[in-house]
Each structure stands twice: as structure tokens, then as C-alpha cells.
Symmetry: C2
Amino acid sequence: MSTDLLVPETRVLAVASHVVYGYVGNKMASLVMQLLGCDVAALNTVHFSNHTGYRQFKGTRATAEEITALYEGLTQSNLTDFDVMLSGYAPSAAAVEAVGAIGMDLQRKAEKNPGSFFWVLDPVMGDQGRLYVNDDVVPAYKNIIRHADLILPNQFEAEVLSNTKITSLSTLASAITAIHNTYKIPHVIITSVSLPTLTPNTLTIIGSTTRSDGSARLFRVDVPALDCYFSGTGDMFAALTVARLREAVFTDPDPQLRNTKSWVSPDEVPATELPLARSTVKVLASMHSVLERTLEVRDREMKSGKPVVDGVDGVDGEDSAERKKSEHLRESKAAEVRVVRYGGLLRQPEVEFQATEWRSEDLPV
Amino acid sequence: MSTDLLVPETRVLAVASHVVYGYVGNKMASLVMQLLGCDVAALNTVHFSNHTGYRQFKGTRATAEEITALYEGLTQSNLTDFDVMLSGYAPSAAAVEAVGAIGMDLQRKAEKNPGSFFWVLDPVMGDQGRLYVNDDVVPAYKNIIRHADLILPNQFEAEVLSNTKITSLSTLASAITAIHNTYKIPHVIITSVSLPTLTPNTLTIIGSTTRSDGSARLFRVDVPALDCYFSGTGDMFAALTVARLREAVFTDPDPQLRNTKSWVSPDEVPATELPLARSTVKVLASMHSVLERTLEVRDREMKSGKPVVDGVDGVDGEDSAERKKSEHLRESKAAEVRVVRYGGLLRQPEVEFQATEWRSEDLPV
């Protein structure tokens, strides 16, 4: 790759889960940021054989003490000059608090140089109306997110954080405004919006950078949905956002923006001109290009050969359950996102998307 | 990157250490293989904050049971279709045995398809005349290396494995022959040879693929030495070798080679035409290009600014020890290999090296 396709040099501390096989958590996020040219320090919060979508896995979780100790190891050797922290899945409320303490310490170290450190937080708690963490993780997140610069909840997590049931575009706008105001978080992206009123077969992403009066400055990007469930796409989105947002800030028409706390653009900057909006369209283009290829490869793989079940050949009761399980494993494996072979597409996507401004006064109630 | 710069699709299981910050062990090896297009499953044997060359670190070691459990996690979900295994540092004799069991299991699974699985083993035990593992790790390695296809000892590790003191080129040749014969290992590379008789300021790498009579088929590559100690270069060498050796076998004039057990070329193939030799010159070219850039960046970094010691300003006794420590930390950080920004150089190095045949009958006694 020629270096002009890389983003500006960016030192990232990425705190998330590790899987031996496949691409989710830090295994996805680190690689994606590295392929864009970021120098990534990877602090792994779990060590699993594979992602939980396979419905079985082995491995261990890091304790809060282990997470803290690894960070102390960095501190004692002066290895904490990070430009960005990306924090994702933490396996307990105590681990969330430990990650929060790391983010706050890095912020404290950078407070004399506004804009020199930025914290992107993915509040991994659940999806589709269901928590997949312990109940005590929710208040732990509510405590730490007020220190983050950008959070990336999905629709369900946005509901949990804002105490707002999202049933329409206007309740979605209220939820984002609540997140800006309750937690003083300057930037929010809702990474997957699912509402009956939206265009079918389309994925809608809504983002906002707050104005000085606390109101939301909303933009929206619609992209074609792909007919497959991929694991790790949230981590991919977050990682691409780290790289592309910093790039957008460093190439912003306003040279002072990078020295502004939390990279919040002045009120007169329209939603579609925000670095967050410019970054998001690039992020989605990269994702779409790579996921489209992944889908092609997956379909080829699923068509080729028969399902592999070691030593199982029958078709009756028990065997049929075994077959179903084996088919699910095969599908999960085939749907692993193809990051490695398509680094070029991450850097130079084949498609282009547009952000549109989205004013809440235009919204149906 | 255009995909034609990538090596053939290769699924690798990489078993080695993980560090949060910097590039050694699996953190180096995984990234290097990924930048060349390999799909890497990373099974981490330790979780440290940084490499031990900093002289301080925090973190934990995986137990043999944890290593085994992660592999069982892969097995139960049919995620073990690896083309290559690369095994590096394991933190105890029991961990070495656990890694050995993984390698043997993968070999067993592939035994009906000769050449479909290849095990590259870096017997990490020590350097410069000194073991840095427990004494019981040595016999553990001696037990498992007989199952490997290629081992990559440094000069000291070659001495330990061959029970041969290497003081000359001819004792070096004897050590390699002993490794071929004692352990039936088809391929060996001694990754750094240091002998008084060799050209100064030159790094010599000696490799061999055995002939059918068990004799060594030796080649030698000399490259200019760089004036800096870099950590992780052994891991970088091993990772590049995984990718480039498989590429060399897949582009070998003999299309049957890839279906031959352990990829051993017929006896009539001269040393310099071996895939191992063709791979090694490419590997060294990539390393030289990236390390040269690393050295430039390091020198710039060391020249800029004063040593950073939080809160220490004096020059007397205790402070001076503190200063020395801080300077060492700063040097270690500056010498971290710049892999991320120079993926292009890994794929397309700027220099070219040559392998020469090296016949032991030509050697001085």
C-alpha cells in the first residue's frame, strides 16, 4: 500500500475481547485500524476460542484487576501516549469500571492539550431488545460514558442509556438529545436503526454532534442492507470510525478543530459537514465493500461441498440435531468477515454514500 | 493493496505471546502475516503489557490447560482447517507440551493429504549463550521438535538442540546435520549466525533442506547488519517465512511439491533453488527494508526532545539511576519495529538479496 492511502499516524489503545479464530472484538478492531495505518495497543478483556455466535466457545475472561494491571504496566514504562482510546466489550461491571478508570486517566494526562486525546466508547450491553450482560453492567456504563467523547450504541443500547423507547424517528431524536444532555457526550452514532417507517432493505445510521446549546445536530446515512448476519460489524464500524474521524478532523477546513476539546465543530457547521458525518460515509462505504465480498465468498463456500459432521451420517432424531448444530457452525464460519484479503477495499472503497441533514422539526411526531 | 501482492490464501494457527504495546511475539507475527494476506488464528500464550526488553512489564501467562482448552474450543466448532501452524514462545515446559500436542493433532488430521499442513516451530529458549526459560523447557522442546517441518533456532538454540558447540562454519554445518538426523526435521534455518570468521557488519543466515540420505543441503544469505537492537525480529522472520515459504512452494516449478510431505524438494534440486532459499531471500529483503525505516524513525525520535521522566529533574545518585532507567525505556519504545506504516515494504521490499550454495566440503575444518 502506498502510505497516502493510510490515515494520519494515530496511536490507539483498543480495549476489547480477543478470539483466537475469526473477526470480532479486538481481533476485528485492531486489524482494521492497523490496515488503515494506526499503531494499535491491544488490551484484551477476554480470551475466547471464537465468537459466541457459534453458540459454543472455550476460554477465559480477564478480571478487572488484570485489566488494571496491564494498564499499570503501560504507565510505568511511559507507553501511554495514545491519541485515541477505543473501548468495547468488558466482561463484568467491575471490568467496565476498570476500563472507565483507564479512559479517565488518559484524559487527565491530556487535559493540558485539548483535542490531543479522544475516547470512542462502544457500550456493549445487548441487542434486539435483550441485554446480554449482567444487570449491574448498565449502571457501570451509565457512570463511565459521561467521560467519553463519542459513543456508538445500537438502537437497543440507546434506549437503555436514554430511558427512551425508540418507536419512531422523533423518539430516536429525543433519545439522542437525552444522551447529549444527560451524559454531556458530544458525539453519538446509533449504528443500526430499525423502525417500521424506514425504507425496507436499507440500513439507516443516525449520528449527531451536539451544538453549544445542547441540541442535537443530526445527520442520517442510508445504505443498502446485505442479506446476511455478520458478527463483528459493530467492532468494524467502531474501528473504522476511529481512523476516519481523526482523519476528518485533521483535514477539516478549520485548522483549530484538532486543538478543540472533543473535536466539537462550531455551531454554524451544518450536520453534513461535520467530521463525524464525513467520517461515517467513508466508514460505511468501506464496510459495504468488504461485506459484499464476504457475502460472495460465503455463498460460494456454503454451496460447495456437503455439511461436514465428523462421523455422523444418519438422518434420524439425534443425528438431525447434530446435523443442525453442524450446519450452524458451518454457516457461522462461512460468514466470518473477510478483512485480511480486502485491506485495499477498506482503504479505498468501491462505493460512495451521502449523509443528509436531518432536522427534528421536520420529523413526524 | 492490490491482491496480487498478497501470498496465496493461507490459514495459519499462530501460537505465541501477546503484548498490549509494541511488536513482538504474536502481536508482531499475526500482523505481519495478515499484511501479507494470511488468515491468522491467534492463540496467545502470555498476556503482557509490553516486551521484556523494557526490563519491566505486567500481565499473566496462560497455563497449559488454558492453551489446550482454547484449542479444544476450535476443535469442537470445526475451526481447525489450518494450512500452517507457527508456534513461538510458550511460558513453561507444560505449555510447550500443550503446544506440541496441538501441532501433532493438526498433523494427524492432515495425514491423508501430504503437504496440506506444515508446522513452523521457533524453539524459543534463549540467546547469546544464555537460557531464558526454565531448564525443563529444553527437554520439552527436544520432544516436540521431531514433529515440526521447519525449525528456526538462533545460533545458541541450535547449539542446545544439537549438543554441538558452534565455533566455526564447519561446526555450524555439523549442528544442522545433527538437527536433521537426530530429530528428522526436514528444514532448518539458523536465524542469526555470529562467528569471528564472518564478514563484519553482516548478518549471516544459514538454512538447509535435508536430502533423502539425511545430509544437509545448505544455503547462506548475507545481509548488511543494522546498528540497532530490535525486539521481535525473530517473530517477524518466522511470520514472513510462513507466508513466503508457502508462496514459494505454490509457485515451485514442480507442481507436485505442494502435495509432498513436508515440502521436501527432490535431491537434484540445488540448495539455492529450494523454496526455503527462495523464501529466505524475500523474507530478509522485507525485514531489511522495514528495519531500515524503523532505524530512521527511531533516530529522529531519540534526537527530538529531552528524555521524559515524570517529576524527576535532579542529577545526583538516585535520580541518575532513575534517569538511566527512563532513558532505557525511551530507547526501547523508539526501537519498536514500525510494521503498520510499512506494510507496503513488507509486500514489496526495496532491496534484493541472493542465496549462495554452501557445501560443507568447501569449509575450513
